[in-house]
């Protein structure tokens, strides 16, 4: 009986340990969301990206995209994906970095950074396509 119990423990331990670890990672990911909110970053990026559009298109983009942002759903999604992707040590390191004064300052600028990166990447791709087309001719 004792051997059977030992064997069962050995076989089931990875699953039990993994579930416990996932809970810890989820709790850490929740702490990360509290200091570096994904939905706030997305909303900020929409606003900043709109600044690159012609004036008459800005309001439509912001209204439409903002209506899609369900902050609660995005937060839950981000927590799930983070807990599934990163180790506890990695999430804790992110929480430590983004909780610091300098990390908060970096996070506050990420929306502007992402919006400019998106706008300039699209422009770079358009240029590349135009170059590729002209070289084919």
């Amino acid at each position: 009986m004792r051997h059977a119990l030992l064997l069962a423990t050995m076989l089931l331990w990875p699953f039990v340990a993994s579930a416990g670890d996932l809970d810890e990672r989820r709790a850490a990911a929740e702490r990360y969301e509290a200091v570096a909110s994904t939905s706030q970053m997305i909303l900020g990026s929409i606003d900043k990206f709109a600044e690159y559009l012609p004036q008459h298109d800005r309001a439509t983009l912001v209204e439409t995209m903002t209506s899609l942002v369900d902050e609660g759903k995005i937060e839950r999604m981000a927590i799930d994906v983070m807990a599934e992707t990163f180790t506890l040590e990695e999430i804790n390191a992110l929480v430590d970095f983004f909780s610091s004064a300098i990390g908060q300052s970096v996070h506050g600028k990420q929306a502007a950074f992402s919006a400019e990166l998106l706008q300039r990447t699209v422009a770079l791709i358009h240029d590349g396509i135009a170059r590729a087309r002209s070289s084919v001719r």
Partner: protein, 75 residues
């Protein structure tokens, strides 16, 4: 894709955007954090994290289209 986005132009663009948006202190802090062993490990997993998050966002968008809250032709 290499023909369309060459790595030199992309790197130049990234340097410009980083230096325009962040202070030297912030860039140094990011370099220190992402240059550490744990930071490198985070960077290696970030594309997978972004892809998984983008897939979930797409599901959210499809839900909104089905629910009539969003039309792909609006924009």
């Amino acid at each position: 894709m290499d023909i369309i986005l060459d790595s030199r132009s992309t790197q130049r663009m990234l340097v410009e955007i980083f230096s325009k948006n962040y202070t030297v202190e912030e860039l140094d802090a990011m370099t220190e954090f992402y240059g550490s062993a744990i930071g490198q490990s985070i960077i290696a997993k970030t594309p997978g994290y972004s892809r998984a998050l983008a897939l979930k966002m797409r599901e959210l968008r499809e839900e909104a289209v089905e629910g009539g809250r969003f039309s792909p032709t609006t924009l």
